[in-house]
Amino acid sequence: MADTGVVTVYGNGAIYETAKKSPFSVKVGLAQMLRGGVIMDVVNAEQARIAEEAGACAVMALERVPADIRAQGGVARMSDPQLIKEIKQAVTIPVMAKARIGHFVEAQILEAIGIDYVDESEVLTVADEDNHINKHNFRIPFVCGCRNLGEALRRVREGAAMIRTKGEAGTGNIIEAVRHVRSVMSDIRVLRNMDDDEVFSFAKKIAAPYDLVMQTKQLGRLPVVHFAAGGVATPADAALMMQLGCDGVFVGSGVFKSGDPARRARAIVQAVTHYSDPDVLAEVSCGLGEAMVGINLNDDKVERYANRSE
């Protein structure tokens, strides 16, 4: 309504619809279809097929898995669109791909090749230190990382239709993932019991938009689908994330850096479905071969990807 000079101070919906013809409900809808599933990092079509056969509900195409990015260093970018196209051809499940934080042209390219979901990811080298992509400008949905409730709601306000807690990618160490999921969940529990009058100050404290904070209070959960990520290496890790209240799990290096990827992938998929059934968890955890090598995060030399963006 810019041309009439009319300004709405408070929007009707807590999340603004975009001018583009993809409503937020459709963007969130796909994430809802992924609930209770496992999304696996893959670097080529062959790995994508293994993930699909194991029962992954989607695959994430990237040029190197996080463990290799850590080991090799250098700048990590969006993968070659040709490679993403090959992966898309090889499988029927949704294909996601990573773009650098703030690199909206990478996201435009991913939209152009018809990817199902974009992950604006801190695992890749950051392209803009101050601004994330304005995700309202896109017809494809985005998933973004967070460490706490405030960060999650800032990303939702920017247009993210799905949130994943960051964890610490490529470490095979679940500690940061637990920390971030716990942080989001406990903030929501505090918020639910809070007097409405205190929400203004709470929103300021966590640096999140008031309307979304209030909506989260009313819902008792994040307003979008919430997956866990960063450090999941075993079926038990995946089930832990589910029991802490996540809607699903991303597994990065955990599958294809282990001794028997196909078997481990399948076990993690089963663990997410039967996360509250210790008998099934015990059964699927048996004889999986070697897990990926973990990194101890007490070492200060290990770079924290999670701290790359706010």
């Binding site: 409503p23 409900s25 459709v26 809802q32 279809m33 209770g36 194991a54 029962g55 029927t92 997410v272």
Partner: protein
Amino acid sequence: MTLVGVLALQGSFNEHIAALRRVGVKGVEIRKPEQLENVGSLIIPGGESTTMAKLAEYHNLFPALREFVKMGKPVWGTCAGLIFLANKATGQKTGGQELIGGLDCTVHRNFFGSQIQSFEADIAAPELSSKEGGPETFRGVFIRAPAILEVGPEVQVLADYHVSSDKESDSSEEGNTTSVKRVIVAVRQGNLLATAFHPELTADTRWHSYFLKMIGEVGEGSLSSIVAVGTDSHSNQPRIDFPIYQ
């Protein structure tokens, strides 16, 4: 109280259980074959059909599900569930996937294309509005949705969708579907109901009450006394529903 089973391997099973609660019915999560014995009807939710097929295979659910359909118990599949119920599905992954079958139709998996072609549309369903009242149309949410290309003589078509020409061009790699102008998106065959869209993602509960009437027609008074055992260990936790976006 009527118990409706919801296949809870992956996907939008929470949304279905929430929608059932809104119409006053308890949904029970089904993950194992023996749990099917506790329910007289079943909803197969949306999700990734390949994932759900794999999980069903791991836990040997297919024989029990086929038996369930064969016994004439009411089953409703949405999106991935529709693919499960179909006798024939095209556009599957390399090597194909296992299906339950029973519904005499051919489904094209992922007919409309990738997420960028996902859409919402108001769709007319005369059968639904005549039985359940309300507006002539309902809001259909199509997420990487399948479509029904052909149906057998026993199958009643409840709703269809006209594919616009720009969607046709990128709808399929196979080429033979490019001439399709009208695709079927909701069908019923006896006690089987199937929809390509997701009523569980909307506030409109008419499809759920339509399915409950189908259960009522079967006459399942004997079910009211059945209590599900070991299927609902989390019932003491407060359920938190996912919001519905209009």
